[in-house]
Each structure stands twice: as C-alpha cells, then as structure tokens.
Amino acid sequence: MTTISTTVMDSTVSDNTEDLGTLAPRVGPVEGLRQTFSLSWRTLVQIKHNPAELIDFSIQPVMFLLLFTYVFGGAIGGSPHAYLMFALPGIIVQNSLFTTLNTATGLSTDLEKGFFDRLRSLPIARFAPLSGRILADLAKQVWAILLLLGIGFILGFRIGTIPNPPLGVIAASGLVLVATLALSWVMVLVSMLAASPEKVQIFGFVVVFPLTFTSDAFVRTASMPGWLQAWSKANPVSLLSDAMRGLMVAGPAAKPVAESLLYAAAFTIVFAPLAVRAFRRRV
C-alpha cells in the first residue's frame, strides 16, 4: 500500500514547486462556466444511477397529463379533447413548478451529506454549485416540456396560434423557463433555510401544491367561490397559464405574458439577494 501511494503522489513535490508561483488569484468567468457545466453533468449523471428520478420527471408528468385528460377531462371540459386544449399549457406550468422543488431538495441533500463542503474546499467559483444545479434542473425542465408537448400532440393537442405555431411554442417554453428560473431563487432560499431535504418536501406540499391548484391551470375560475376567484386572478400560476394559452392555443397573450414577466422580475429582485445571502451565510 505504502509503495503504491508513493507512485501516485510521486509528481506532487515537483509539480507543486512549479505551481507555487503561479497560483490563480481568482476564478475566471470561463472557468466558472466550465465548472457550472461539470456540476450540471454530475446532477444529470445521477439520473443514470437512480432510475426513480427518471420516473420523477418523465413518467409523472405524462401520468398527470393522461389522468387529467381522460379522468377529469370530460367532466371539467366537456370532452377529453376540449379539456386537453385547455389544460396542457396549465399542466406544463404545474410540472415546471413542481420540478423546481428538485433544485431545493438537491441542494439540501448536498448540504446534508457534506458534498457541498467538498465542493467549497475546491478552488472553484463560489456560485458554481448553485448554477450547476440550476442549469441541470433547467435541462430537465426542457426535457419535460418537450415530452408533454409530444405526448399532448399524440393525444390531439394542436397549436392554435396562427400565423406562426413554432414561434408560439418556443415563446411559451421560454416563458416557463424564465418563470421557473425566477422561482429557483425561492428554492435556493428554502434549501438553505430548511434543515433537511424532508423539510423541503414539506414546503413543496404546503406551499407549491396549493399555489398551483388555486389557479386556473386546470379549471376555469368561474366555478370557484368569489374570494378564491379574486386570489386566483392574482396568482402568478394563473397568469403564467393564461400566457401559455395565449401563446399556444388562443386568447390574449400580451397582457398575461407581460404580467408573468413582471412577476418573474419581482421574484428575482426579492428572492435572489435573500437566497445569495442565505447561501453565503450557510456555506
């Protein structure tokens, strides 16, 4: 054992004597970006080893789509197809919001297991553990959106926005990604404050779940009691769902898109500094 270790460390002394004069004073932006990609790779490789995760962000959205379309569709929307046209944008929004919880549980797990400390002891950009996680989760988002649109298309969903359907889809997907990116700051904050991944799950269930369901993502608000309608109209999930419908199906787009972007900006302005502060304090 002793001899083998020596071979591995052989170059240590000579290497370091050369290095000593040339220590980098800080991490360059290109390196920071490269480290972000490396850490994203790490988050995505986890999927390979943990098939349950694949279920989480592939099978679950499809299951939701099928259940809503065929179980509730007829009752809520008159027919499964009519409901699909209404609900698919909402289901994409709902799925994206739930997916951002992965950002929080993932960060929280890294903190708890000590992987974060390992990363922090390395000469890498301080933001890389955060940006790497967020980038990987955005990649999962894109995958889930494509999956939902693809299955939706097979089930009969058609883009109603003439004259340019592809542009509508791209704009809608982009809007969801911008919104979830803004929400990611909340998730970073939650993961830094919560003591364990389990607590993050509770947050998801207590906050994200009701927030999503008290919107018009799945149903029109007309049948809700007055106070709930008032809330639902202000609920960012409703605005985002409306914007998605405007971009992909029918209805006004400009106003809900603008409002969604305003919400995203507000979330970022409020929560990004808080999250970064909590992040710095925790790490």
Binding site: M9, T12, P25, H49, K113, F115, D117, S121
Partner: protein
C-alpha cells in the same frame, strides 16, 4: 525551517460557546502534525477554518504563506480536505466522483480519467470503480474520500478524524496510506481522538481542549510529560490500598487515582513496573492484579488538565 501552516490566536464563536479560544499552531512543511483532542475540543473547527470553509472571528491563519480569509482561493489550490463532512456524491460511482473533481480543478477529460484510475488503483478501489459509492463499505468509502482530496495533488492535506468509526483492519489500512503520503513530501494535518493514532503517525502533536492548545511536542516529549503508560495495581486486600497509593506516588509526579480497590497512575517508562513490584514486595503487600498498558486519551487528559474528557465526565455524572 519552513512552516506550511501558521495560525495565531484563532478564535471562533458559535452563539455563546467559543469553539476556538486562541489557537496557535506551527506545522512544519512535509511533516504530519497531529491535533489530538476529545469530541468538541475544536479540532474540526480549526480544520474547517484552514480549509476556508469557515471564517475565524479572531486571529489569523496562513497556509503556505497565503491568508485563509483574504487569499482563500490560493489556499484552496494548495489544500486537500478529507473529513466526515466533506464527502463524495453517493449516487455517483467512485470513478465519476474522482473525475468530477479532476474536471472541476481544471484537468482535461483524459487527464482527469487517468488520474482517477491511478488513484483508484493505489487505494485498491479499481474493482469498485464503476459502482455507486452508496454500495461501498465504510473503509472503502473512507479511502475514496481520501483519494478525492488528492486528485489535485495538494501540498497540504487535512485529515479530519480519518479513522473514526472504522474497524481495526480498515484503520490499519488507513494508517498505511497516511504513512505512504508522508513519504511524498505532502504536509499533513491530522486530527484524531486516538492517542495511539497521533503517536503512530504524527511527528508533532498539539493536544487541544475547550478550544485551546494545552500541550505541544513530539510524541516522545508528550509521553514523557504525561505518562504514555498507565500502571494499575490492585492489592489482594482492600486494606492495603493506602500502602499501594504511597508506593506508587513515589514513582510519578501525577496524583494516583483509586477506583474501587485499583490504583492507577500514568508513568513514563516500563522500568517503573519492576521497581514498584520490588517496593510492594518489601513492605509485604500481596498484589492481586498488576498491569502496565498504553494510556488512553482520557488518561493523558487527566494528567495534562486535571480533568477527564467531557464525554466521560458526562457519562460518570
């Protein structure tokens, strides 16, 4: 003489408690320095400050001449950290973990791969290279942690309680690995709760308690000061306990301790034993039990501080 790690008056507070209360350390380049102390003495806090994970509230520390606060990035380029809190990703394989660290520290993909393979081979993890870390045994896991801290060829290595919780066989393996490292010129700061471990691996030891250094020196110096061996004498008749106490006290500067009818005292050399036997024989005391064994950390503490380690105080109360 050059020092790789220098700390002066390091202070760290957590709420009301002072985890570190003015720590001064000088760690010689290329040596293994042992930081010995019980749970909660401040060992881990000291290492976390030196690894730039925690900022000190007072005092300062440099690693290879770079301040750990103002030049943290330089320090990170020179150091490797192995501790129970600085872990690897359990869902990834051993190879993936080491490659990730290689990539993060600027190695090209082929370089990261070959470095990872080399390290896995030298830590006898080649067969487990493509298995998820969560399937590893405790000893394998600890070896991978150590390998992870060596990926970027650090000049200074922190080993925070590298063998705590390991079975004796894995502990011996780990000791071999650490000894192998020192042959390469890397400076090692080792924290441990085990006197034996510090004695075996370190060329210099600082004993810390309640966030302060209470003794420093080479293992030999410390043993001479504190009594590396413990002599225990149990007379056949309880009535002889005072006589035994008197005899034993003549051979050491430390006050002997009596538990039930056994008298124990730290002694500095094996030659004490026959002398004690002779004296007891002279005064006609029949001995039921007589042992000489290596002192525990607790006994070293007792002789240095006059109090037992917190843990044992707690369990005794």
């Amino acid at each position: 003489m050059t020092y790789s790690i220098v700390t002066e008056g390091l202070v760290k507070r957590f709420d009301q408690t002072r985890a570190l209360d003015g720590i001064d350390l000088l760690v010689r380049t290329g040596s293994v320095f042992g930081l010995l102390g019980p749970n909660g003495a401040g060992k881990t806090t000291a290492v976390r400050i030196l690894a730039t994970l925690v900022r000190p509230d007072g005092g300062h520390a440099t690693v290879c001449g770079h301040d750990v606060v103002s030049h943290a990035h330089q320090v990170r380029q020179l150091t490797g950290l192995t501790g129970q809190y600085a872990s690897v990703d359990e869902t990834l394989t051993g190879l993936e973990n080491l490659m990730l660290i290689g990539r993060l520290t600027g190695q090209s993909r082929p370089a990261a791969r070959s470095r990872a393979r080399d390290l896995l081979a030298s830590f006898r993890l080649t067969d487990a290279a493509d298995r998820a870390v969560k399937t590893y045994s405790g000893g394998m896991r600890r070896r991978l942690d150590l390998a992870a801290s060596l990926v970027s060829r650090p000049r200074v290595l922190y080993l925070d309680e590298p063998t705590t919780g390991l079975d004796p066989r894995s502990r011996n393996e780990m000791w071999d690995v650490v000894r192998g490292l020192t042959a390469t010129g890397v400076t090692v700061l080792l924290t441990t709760q085990y006197l034996e471990e510090a004695d075996l691996l370190a060329s210099e030891i600082a004993v810390i308690d309640h966030g302060t250094v209470i003794a420093t020196g080479t293992p030999t110096e410390l043993k001479a000061r504190t009594g590396a061996l413990t002599l225990a004498v149990r007379p056949a008749s309880p009535a002889d306990v005072p006589a035994v106490l008197a005899v034993v006290a003549g051979f050491t500067r430390t006050e002997p301790e009596v538990r039930n009818t056994t008298v124990t005292v730290p002694v500095s050399g094996e030659d004490v034993m026959p002398a004690v036997v002779r004296r007891l024989d002279d005064i006609g005391v029949t001995v039921a039990e007589l042992t000489l064994r290596g002192s525990s950390l607790d006994e070293v503490f007792l002789s240095l501080t006059g109090h037992r380690t917190e843990e044992l105080e707690g369990s005794a109360a």
